[in-house]
């Protein structure tokens, strides 16, 4: 049998972790990436990575981490995966430490941990404020070692266009384009892993990097793979406005004591430092005494929206609030947050060590992604040997990292993404190798007609893109699409506007046909590639917008005021557990709870029965059909969230 190999597309944290784990088992890997992997979007991650190491002796544990994660995601996460991930988190942090990641240290030389949103524990290991960069480099170095040993072949400046499928629909390779020469070719692979990151660029300006168009996963969706929870897009509460990008001010700023406030008086024109404490509204601390500035992101973003839009208290009347670190010493700030403070200073010209920062919410992360599978054990963990782990609905095609969908439910907790990326990459390794070894032959032995056909199909597609001579500038059309998404599918969602958005996106789909391919040369020409990506972004927007339109509830980042059920302020989430228990024992009476509590719990239960499900988009040739799939919630009983 000719040599088998895996193709990994994407060299962010997820792709590199998968590559090194697969290579460690002696299996060859072809690693394909748009850019040199060391320049992947993962470098942007600032704040840190979660793992309940309990270094501060606070009684933290993987089980509490698991609970915080599932609760943070409003119970839409797949529990066995979340559990397995949280239980592996301390090991992952140790592994990274052994690899040479320069994590910050305690005076005694132990790993230091900081606080992050959605938890009351110090659980986030960090490397200054450039943790993603440091983690990515460590994995990149390990992969380079395998490259030198010959187990990994890395091809950069190549874009994944689509999967090669055999007659049964099984994925047996990938069609890729050399971004220098423009050549398109089909590569054979016994398994293909998409670790291609998130789709923030659908919204135009976001905290994401330029290559985060979601084009690879959308391509899989267009080829028939299921796409899960598309409507769950995370809006990060604290970013800095910019013309090309909305630069993030990491949650770690609040983890290190940063305070969010606005002047109590609307449109107060005073210099923020001249506004005395009693005239400042620390609205998160006031409303959420327990979690304060570290409420989860969906809650934080909604509160900022409320303060600025509903109450008109935004700084200078704009959609902006202060994020204030000026009470800390410069030395402390430089040591723990240097990276992000430099970004703020460099791009705004204001020193955040002296002046409160002006920040606002921005599109940040996609909880949704390509649908993937897993195999749980009886005790609620994951069987790491199973070839089903992380496999999409197309046999042989896998997904990992921000590209997948099961871990973060309706809202991701800060510092859980670096974890889920590395975890999925490592966890899936043995299963992928088993899958490949279980194949009867190698993809190399398959008839070349399969590959020639796929290659030809894509070559023809690009030839026709290059011949597009319409009136639309693709970059301008993208701006229009993203502005539509930004105005209508963001923090607060409304059915009438969503319905109009779905129609609007169909118009963009039509207008795409009238695009002009501005550059038709062959050598290093990014325009045809962008035109293709734009098509995919339009298709993905439909998934996001239609998913949002159809989901008539309020869950995590998906907020529809029309369907909000108001939690009584004196309600305790544990009551719900009692309520369901009484119900099961047929002991529930009208007076078991206060009437407003009872009513609230009935509504909560009703909502969950209908909506505590993953939304699944499948492509019908024109747009998405949306259906709903049950999720495993057997380990932690879903209950109302509360952070005050």
């Amino acid at each position: 049998m000719t040599k088998q190999r895996a193709i990994v597309v994407g060299g962010g944290l997820a792709g590199l972790a998968a590559t090194m784990k697969i290579a460690e088992q002696g299996m060859s890997v072809l690693l394909v990436s748009f850019l040199p992997v060391k320049r992947s979007h993962s470098v942007c991650a600032q704040g840190g990575i979660n793992g309940a190491v309990n270094i501060k002796g606070e009684g933290d544990s993987p089980e509490i981490h698991f609970y915080d994660t599932v609760k943070g995601g409003d119970f839409l996460g797949h529990q066995p995966l979340c559990k397995d991930m949280c239980y592996h988190a301390p090991f992952i942090i140790y592994l990274l430490d052994r690899m040479g990641v320069p994590f910050n240290r305690t005076p005694e030389g132990n790993l230091d941990f900081r606080r992050f949103g959605g938890t009351l524990h110090h659980r986030t290991a960090f490397s200054g404020a450039t943790t993603g960069q440091q983690l990515l480099y460590a994995l990149d170095e390990q992969v380079r070692r395998y490259e030198v040993e010959g187990l990994v072949e890395k091809i950069e400046w190549h874009e994944y266009l689509g999967a090669v499928q055999d007659e049964d629909g099984k994925c047996v390779g990938a069609v890729i384009q050399n971004l220098r020469t423009g050549d398109i070719r089909a590569e054979r692979g016994d398994a293909v892993i998409l670790a291609t990151g998130g789709p923030g660029v659908v919204y135009g300006r976001s905290t994401n990097s330029v290559v985060c168009t979601g084009t690879a996963t959308t391509s899989a969706y267009l080829q028939g793979a299921k796409y899960g929870n598309g409507e769950f897009i995370q809006i990060h509460p604290t970013a800095v406005p910019g013309r090309d990008k909305l630069r993030l001010m990491s949650e770690s700023a609040r983890g290190e004591g940063g305070r969010v406030w606005v002047p109590r008086k609307a449109n107060d024109q005073r210099d923020p430092k001249e506004i005395p404490a009693e005239e400042r509204l620390y609205f998160l601390e006031e409303k959420y005494p327990r979690f304060g500035n570290l409420v989860p992101r969906d809650v934080g973003a909604r509160e900022i929206y409320n303060i600025c839009v509903n109450q008109g208290l935004g700084v200078h009347g704009d959609m902006k609030v202060y994020l204030d670190l000026t009470h800390h010493s410069r030395e402390f700030l430089d040591r723990r947050l240097g990276g992000i403070l430099e970004i703020y200073e460099k791009f705004t010209g204001v020193d955040p060590r002296e002046e409160p920062m002006e920040i606002f919410p921005a599109v940040h992360y996609s909880m949704g992604g390509i649908w993937t599978d897993y195999n749980r054990t009886a005790d609620g963990f994951i069987d790491h040997q199973s070839p089903r782990n992380q496999m999409t609905s197309m046999e042989g095609l896998y997904a990992a990292g921000e590209a997948d969908y099961q871990y973060h439910g309706a809202n991701r907790l800060g510092a859980n993404s670096l974890l889920s990326c590395i975890y999925t990459g490592l966890m899936m390794g043995p299963g992928v190798v088993n899958y490949i070894k279980n194949q009867k032959g190698s993809a190399t032995d398959l008839p070349s007609s399969l590959f020639d056909q796929a290659q030809q199909q894509w070559q023809e597609k690009f030839t026709s893109i290059k011949q597009m001579k319409g009136k639309e500038n693709p970059y301008k059309l993208h701006t229009e699409l993203s502005e539509t998404m930004m105005s209508n599918v963001l923090i607060v969602r409304d059915n009438a506007r969503l319905a109009a958005t779905v129609e609007k996106i169909d118009e963009y789909d039509e207008r795409w046909k009238d695009v002009e391919c501005l550059d038709t040369s062959d050598w290093t020409n990014p325009v045809p590639s962008f035109v293709n990506q734009l098509y995919n972004m339009i298709q993905l927007s439909k998934v996001i917008a239609k998913g949002a339109l159809l989901r008539d509830e309020f869950r995590g980042a998906h907020y529809k005021p029309e369907f909000e059920i108001n939690q009584p302020s004196d309600f305790k989430p544990e009551s719900f557990l009692e309520y369901t228990k009484l119900k099961a024992e047929r002991g529930l009476k009208q007076d078991s709870f206060k009437p407003d509590h009872l009513e609230y719990m009935r509504l909560y239960e009703e909502t969950n029965e209908k909506w505590l499900k993953s939304s699944i988009a499948t492509f019908n040739g024109k747009g998405p059909d949306i259906s709903y799939e049950a999720i495993d919630t057997s380990l932690i009983q879903p209950r109302p969230r509360k952070y005050d």
Binding site: L35, F91, R144, S209, G242, R243, K346
Partner: protein, 249 residues
């Protein structure tokens, strides 16, 4: 504000062996612009100052917050990242040129593979027994971490080698960035295990001896990495190794 404009003079080149030429673009001024947002504006309306419709300019970028190292170019004669080059702080016309020490791919995009190859040469990694659970790593004191962290911020952007008089297209000098990475791995508790292999590679042709001590690198590094300190340290380690091998001790 409405008739304020920004003028760019861009050194363009259609491909590796093609002639280069200057092209001027005049675009409307918008507040808070940087070089990349302007290049994006040109994409949306690719018309040069003579009113002629041209191919959009090709350049590379990704993170737009100066951590990925992709968008390095020569802006008004200075090597830097284009994302953090704010228009309000630049003299006009703004000239954009590709890095000169690397082969031009097209327009402002260059091929910096040589820098990544140098990382292979100096074995810039920590050798490991495996990726399974082997418990925590060594304790490391904060001061040590502080030094390692600074070195580890290198984003392979190429500013240092662009500024270096010794680094040229026709020699094989590894450059300051790689030397500094060797220092980083030689100070790691297990990275140290192959310290001698790294020193041997630095003592080879194109290694540390090629440094002419011009000290330009440290001036231009956007991450303020103490490159001259790293070069001196690796110089010390290399001569120690040299004498040790000579006397077989």
């Amino acid at each position: 504000m409405s008739n304020k404009t920004i003028t760019f003079k861009i050194l363009r080149q259609d491909g590796p062996n093609q002639p280069s030429f200057w092209e001027t673009f005049v675009i409307p001024y918008l507040p808070n612009s940087n070089v990349i947002s302007c290049l994006m504006d040109i994409q949306k309306n690719p018309i040069n100052s003579e009113g002629k419709k041209v191919r959009p300019v090709v350049w590379e970028c990704n993170c737009l917050e100066e951590v990925c190292g992709t968008c390095t170019m020569v802006i008004n004669g200075k090597t830097r990242q284009s994302c953090s080059a704010l228009i309000d702080k630049l003299m006009q016309p703004i000239t954009l040129q590709p890095l000169s020490k690397f082969p031009v791919v097209r327009d402002l995009a260059v091929d910096r593979s040589r820098m990544f190859e140098a990382l292979k040469r100096i074995k810039a990694w920590v050798p490991m027994d495996g990726y399974h659970d082997l418990g925590p790593g060594d304790k490391i004191l904060p001061d040590h971490q502080g030094v390692a962290y600074k070195l580890s911020e290198c984003m392979t952007c190429g500013c240092c080698v662009e500024a270096c008089p010794q680094y040229s297209r026709d020699n094989n000098f590894v450059g300051a960035a790689a030397i500094s990475q060797a220092r980083l791995f030689n100070m790691h508790p297990t990275g140290k295990l192959i310290a001698n292999e790294r020193l041997d590679s630095l003592m080879d042709d194109g290694g540390i001896a090629a440094c002419g001590n011009a000290q330009n690198c440290v001036e231009v590094c956007p991450k303020s990495i103490p490159l001259t300190e790293s070069i001196a340290e690796m110089g010390r380690q290399s001569s120690k190794r040299f004498w040790k091998t000579l006397f077989q001790i």
